[in-house]
């Protein structure tokens, strides 16, 4: 029975936390900051309880996974069914920006987001793996973990930046800086 106490408490806290968040975002009142704080605190406590139940290494990711599932379950109970509408279009929200579509811009954008961002990310990873004042395994792990994050960041930025030549220049400069730091 006591074995079930922690997971049940974690589940209940997650549910209560998400309900508080829903209340806070649904209608803005003077209680909103309190509800937000209480909601996030309950969710954090639920994750901590999972950590206490399964051990921090397993319990914390398990608790975060539980949080997502509970949140989606709460969301599923709040579906708003709407009538079929065939009238004229309402004012639209934000659309993707219209960019000049020329072949050379597309080619440069692909090169920037793919190989150039990758090269810059690997350069930064190598710089960390060589330069961090840590043990060998730690340096390689941190350098390695950094690469996909920076590569993804480079992809996001180069594909989003409407000024493509600025993106090209910054990426080349940051690659040079990374490789210089790594090998000098």
């Amino acid at each position: 029975m006591t074995g079930l106490l922690l997971p049940v408490a974690a589940l209940a806290l997650s549910g209560a936390g998400i309900a508080a968040l829903r209340q806070a975002w649904d209608k803005r009142t003077r209680w909103t900051p309190w509800l937000l704080s209480a909601g996030w605190a309950a969710c954090a406590l639920a994750v901590a309880l999972c950590g206490a139940w399964l051990g921090a290494e397993v319990g914390i990711p398990a608790g975060i996974t539980l949080f997502s599932i509970v949140a989606l379950a709460v969301l599923a109970t709040h579906v708003r069914w709407r009538e079929v509408r065939s009238g004229p279009a309402r004012a639209s929200a934000t659309d993707p920006s219209d960019r000049p579509s020329r072949l050379w811009r597309g080619v440069i954008r692909v090169l920037l987001a793919g190989p150039l961002s990758g090269l810059a990310a690997v350069g930064a990873g190598v710089a960390l793996a060589k330069g961090l004042p840590l043990g060998e395994a730690d340096r390689i792990a941190i350098g390695g973990l950094t690469v996909p994050l920076l590569w993804a960041g480079g992809m996001v930025w180069t594909l989003a930046d409407d000024r493509i030549l600025r993106a090209l220049a910054v990426l080349i400069l940051s690659s040079i800086a990374a490789y210089t730091a790594a090998f000098i």
């Binding site: 009142t29 399964l54 993707p96 390695g144 993804a152 180069t158």
Partner: protein
């Protein structure tokens, strides 16, 4: 009224982010979809392997002496094939309650897995069906290892970038967090599903592509970093990342004493469970073996202790109690596939994996709806997308059905053929949504056929593993959901067929 605490994001920034998000999503949509749906099916790998081998007797415990005997049997079988590279004995575990013996040839990459009973006797080769195919589809797209892994890793980076750009292009991320509308305009409906699933499962959506990118690109990234960090000394790099390295010596030697090593490792870690014992270069002077222990409160699948040919402990990989870096690397696989925390996490990962698959699918349908709104419809792409979306699970079911009856068709041409067949309704259906409906009927029927035929095939032999019945029940439930989604009286259905899509996110 209080002021919002979140700063207002400029509309131009959101537009730019959306443009990048859209370009990235469309460029990688098909690849990301295939990887997500196949990855979701790999979460319950142990249970699906049990479903494919439902007549193997359940074993709950195996003493070290039996495991050593299994390995000796494995060495004999391998010797008959002229190999001794890698022989692995796996005792029963909670999620895989039977023992197995695996023999691998490093030169050709060929491997054979045998089921083993509680006394260590071989029961015959393990049946491998759709699971094996899906595994290789997810890991390397059935391409040469290096090319496939790199492509998969690149798709992981692209998915991670999509998650970041999608989040940044969401100006009302908190205000809309609980807004979930069905019906109305198609674009709005799909955008709500896309955004709500994305936001609430954000930790999962960051963790899975991030770990996937690292696993896919590990050979390139870790190889480059290790080479740079160790000034090209790859043996030192291998030792740091992969554990002790043993010098090769092909002179013959007796097999090492494995039982004392297992007993001593378990004595030092009484909370641990023996996960596997692997013998390298068996019968040579340069042989070595590893004892892998699963630590219940560690994220890593196992800690690996390496022994030389004399049975002396040479070191470990440090996955359980070594440097933080080694532990981080060891956590990538379990975090990616949900192989931690037992069946509740597995169920959650399957649900979230299906959610991520739906996010990718709706991402494309939002684009299709937006094109329609702007008066530039793309009905051909719409039909093709539905064919691709539903063609994947249909092709996996088709492979599972053929392997159920031992039809060893060439898997890749068969898979590609079924995927292509799924495009036939795209040419014949009267409307794009009809393509989706026809294919869902086919999938639903296949999901019914699978458990029925599985029971008919194995019931006469005696299904000993309850996991087989659980998987069969899950298949029937999936069939009900797929077929039910065709008949669901949602306003969406009426709307999608009779009214133009006009709203926006």
């Amino acid at each position: 009224m209080t002021k919002p605490i979140w700063p207002k994001i400029p509309a131009r920034f959101v537009s730019s982010m959306l443009a990048g998000h859209s370009a990235l999503g469309l460029a990688f949509a098909a690849l990301m979809y295939v990887l997500c749906i196949s990855g979701t099916l790999l979460v319950p790998t142990a249970e699906l392997a049990r479903w494919e081998n439902p007549t193997v007797p359940i074993t709950t415990h195996m003493p070290p002496a039996t495991i050593a005997r299994m390995l000796e049997t494995g060495v004999q079988i391998a010797a008959e094939q002229g190999i001794n590279d890698y022989i692995v004995a796996t005792p029963p575990a909670a999620d895989a309650p039977y023992a197995s013996l695996r023999i691998m040839d490093f030169t050709t990459g060929a491997e054979t897995i045998y089921n083993v009973d509680g006394q260590g006797n071989l029961l015959g080769e393990r049946r491998e069906g759709a699971l094996h195919f899906i595994e290789h589809l997810h890991i390397n797209l059935h391409m040469p290892q290096m090319i496939g892994l790199t492509l998969v890793g690149l798709a992981g980076v692209a998915l991670l970038a999509s998650v970041v750009s999608g989040t940044l292009s969401h100006p009302r991320i908190f205000r809309d967090a609980f807004t979930f509308r069905r019906g109305g305009s198609r674009r709005l409906q799909e955008a709500d599903l896309h955004n709500r699933l994305s936001v609430w499962a954000l930790p999962f959506h960051i963790a899975v592509p991030f770990t996937g990118a690292l696993l896919g690109l590990s050979a390139i990234i870790l190889g480059t970093l290790a080479m740079a960090a160790f000034d090209g000394d790859m043996s030192r790099a291998r030792a740091t990342i992969g554990g002790p390295v043993f010098a090769e010596d092909p002179a013959p030697a007796p097999l090492p004493q494995i039982v004392p090593a297992i007993e001593s490792a378990l004595a030092k870690h009484p909370e641990a469970r023996l996960q596997r014992v692997a013998l390298y270069k068996a019968g040579e002077k340069g042989q070595s073996f590893l004892v892998a222990l699963h630590m219940p409160r560690d994220l890593t699948l196992s800690e690996q202790y390496f022994y030389d040919g004399e049975g002396n402990l040479a070191g470990s990989r440090g996955f359980a109690d070594g440097p933080a870096g080694a532990q981080l690397i060891a956590a990538l696989g379990p975090l990616h596939f949900g192989w931690f925390g037992g069946w509740p996490v597995k169920i959650a990962y399957v649900l979230l994996g299906l959610g991520l698959t739906a996010i990718i699918s709706t991402g494309v349908t939002i684009w299709i709806a937006r094109r329609k709104d702007k008066g530039k419809p793309v009905p051909g792409w719409e039909r093709a997308w539905y064919a691709l979306v539903w063609g994947q699970p249909i092709s996996y079911c088709a492979i599972a059905l053929t392997s159920l009856f031992g039809l060893h068709l060439p898997e890749i041409p068969f898979y590609l053929g079924v995927c292509l067949l799924a495009f036939v309704p795209a040419f014949l259906a009267p409307a794009p949504l009809a393509v989706s409906r026809y294919l869902r009927i086919v999938l639903g029927l296949m999901l019914i056929a699978l458990p029925v035929l599985h029971a008919l095939r194995y019931a006469p032999e005696g299904i000993t593993d309850p996991a087989a019945w659980i998987v069969n029940a899950s298949l029937l439930l999936s069939a009900a959901l797929v077929l039910g989604s065709i008949r669901l009286p949602w306003p969406t259905r009426k709307f999608a067929e009779h009214a133009p899509a006009i709203d926006s996110r």
